[in-house]
């Protein structure tokens, strides 16, 4: 079966009675089963097909929800009642969630089908999807390359056509960086837009659920459905949700370009050139381009690592072998229950971050590192808000390079610097989207990023759509 790439097309075919959801679902299952990328770690086969039959009925009665026909894969760190969720970690092997994340529940309420669970870096820590108990995810175009991370499975699943959309989480670029590497749309909404209830916590003041899609319209509809207040996440904003479809752009914009990003010395020349071409086109179509100076490029990733590892070290303290998940067979007293369980259950990158987090939080270092980073975070946020006051949106590349080889980057700092252009949005809490606009002479895609004002996803989506049509 020829599967339409976007939900917009699927919906049209459903409305014309040309598409049966069982066939659609079965076609995706067939593709997943023959895929070699290791994106899916589990297919919810029988129940997806059953649900497809049920939603077919609803469609016949014209009583279907907004997402009837939407088939979604979910990153393995978002809870779905009575399904396994492990954050790709041994420490949660066999864990079955007893409730659904608010985001998942809202998708189900609108008749989406959740087709399976997607591979990721352990506890969403990584930029290559190599840190997974299920083994690395492979890039769909070149199996020797990484898909990016941490939501690598989610990016590949959409790029390879294994589902129409997927959920990911973005703490420092974990949606946008793999979206850039794989050539799909990747959206991280404003912090506080989508409930984090049911998202396995990595760094609570940065984490945000978002989506991978093949077009801007689908991303907009999905984040609209998942947004809005929730009794189970008190950090959630009560600001009215953005619209369910992309509004067309009806004015000329002020677009800010932080020059320090374009002059970053490890930026691939072709990515730089493409960004400049886009800027020229925008200028020619009447938008105002403002070149900006952003003095914190070098300090973004260090600030991010101090704060996220601190939050992670305390969030991950819950994995103690007592109440759920893995417990070491050798555990014979209280200390060995904790220490052996955690040492056997966590992978190296997770351990590194817990150790650094406890270092920056320990007495004697707390003020020098943790409080210092919180102060720097305020400076970065204030500078970002100021740039976004005078500009409708900021534009720069999503990643400094295209996908690299599996096993190529072993130095943790080099890996952390993969997120140099993406951590900014998480530090400031603003929404950002990666658009698949670039195609490199090495045959790999790359993304261009737009960063908008907090809780103004409406403008961000409008601008993104017009950029895709440019």
């Amino acid at each position: 079966m020829d599967i339409p790439s976007s939900f917009t097309e699927i919906k049209q075919q459903i409305n014309h009675g040309q598409l049966n959801l069982i066939d659609l679902c079965q076609s995706f299952i067939n593709r997943i089963e023959s895929s070699k990328t290791n994106a899916f770690v589990e297919i919810f086969k029988d129940e997806s097909l059953k649900r497809a039959a049920l939603i077919n009925e609803k469609i016949n009665l014209k009583k279907q929800g907004l997402l009837a026909g939407m088939i979604i894969g979910v990153k393995d760190n978002i809870c779905f009642a009575n399904h396994n969720v492990t954050a790709s970690s041994k420490i949660l092997s066999g864990f079955e969630s007893i409730f659904s994340a608010t985001a998942i529940q809202r998708l189900l309420d609108e008749d989406a089908i959740i087709i399976g669970r997607l591979n990721c870096d352990e506890f969403a820590m990584g930029s290559s999807n190599e840190n997974s108990t299920y083994g690395p995810v492979r890039h769909h175009i070149d199996h020797e390359k990484v898909p990016g991370g941490s939501s690598g499975g989610s990016a590949v699943a959409v790029a390879e056509g294994l589902c129409t959309a997927s959920l990911g989480s973005d703490t420092g670029g974990s949606i946008r960086q793999p979206a850039s590497f794989c050539g799909v749309v990747g959206m991280k909404p404003s912090y506080g837009r989508i409930s984090r209830y049911g998202l396995l916590a990595y760094a609570s003041s940065f984490d945000q659920i978002g989506v991978f899609t093949n077009n801007v319209e689908d991303a907009c509809l999905l984040t609209h459905v998942m947004s809005g207040k929730d009794d189970y996440d008190s950090t959630l904003s009560h600001v009215k949700s953005h619209t369910s479809s992309v509004k067309s752009l009806d004015k000329k914009l002020a677009i800010g370009v932080p020059e320090d990003y374009l002059n970053f010395n490890n930026l691939d020349p072709e990515i730089k050139q493409k960004t400049e071409e886009i800027i020229d086109k925008l200028r020619l179509s009447g938008h105002k381009i403002n070149l900006l100076s952003f003095p914190f490029v070098k300090h973004l990733v260090p600030c991010y690592y101090v704060l996220t590892t601190a939050e992670a070290s305390s969030n991950l303290a819950r994995y103690d072998g007592a109440h759920y998940g893995y417990r070491s067979d050798e555990a014979n007293d209280i200390d060995s229950t904790y220490e052996l369980t955690r040492s056997e259950g966590f992978g190296l990158e997770v351990k590194r971050r817990i150790m650094l987090g406890n270092f920056v939080l320990s007495s004697g270092y707390y003020d020098a590192y943790f409080t210092k980073a919180q102060k720097v975070r305020r400076l970065i946020k204030e500078k970002t808000d100021e740039m976004l006051k005078e500009n409708d949106v900021l534009l720069f590349p999503t990643t400094p390079s295209t996908a690299f080889n599996i096993g190529e980057i072993n130095d943790p700092i080099k890996m952390y610097l993969q997120d140099i252009f993406t951590v900014h949005a998480n530090i400031a809490g603003v929404p950002a989207i990666s658009l698949p606009l670039g195609s490199h002479s090495n045959k790999l895609p790359f993304g261009i990023q737009l960063m908008g004002r907090s809780f103004d996803e409406d403008s961000l989506y409008s601008i993104a759509e017009s950029l895709m049509q440019l």
Binding site: E96, S234, T235, K298, P302, E339, S343, M355, K372
Partner: protein
């Protein structure tokens, strides 16, 4: 920054993690690199700047204080490594 073995051991103990000798060497080396990396924050003048603690300043949402059954015991125990009737079962904590 050079980190001595005692600091690493103390951090491992705070983290409830155990490292063998080879891992110890690796983690020490990584920690030194990571600390050098985050030390660049010193370059920024933050005098008089308040730390940013909450990302969602300006609102606080209250909910009614109603009793709800959130987690029945059988579900709470569903994922436990070991359980006995309505209890989590753990290795003994005290020797006597």
């Amino acid at each position: 920054m050079k980190i001595d073995q005692n600091t690493i051991k103390k951090l491992a103990s705070l983290s409830k993690l155990k490292f063998n000798e080879k891992e110890m060497e690796l983690i020490t080396n990584d920690m030194e690199k990571m600390i050098d990396f985050i030390q660049t924050l010193e370059e920024i003048n933050t005098e008089g700047v308040e730390p940013l603690i909450h990302m969602t300043e300006g609102y606080n949402h209250w909910r009614a204080d109603e009793v709800r059954e959130m987690l029945p015991p059988n579900e709470a125990l569903k994922n436990s490594p070991k359980a006995d009737s309505s209890y989590f079962k753990l290795p003994k904590v005290l020797d006597k």
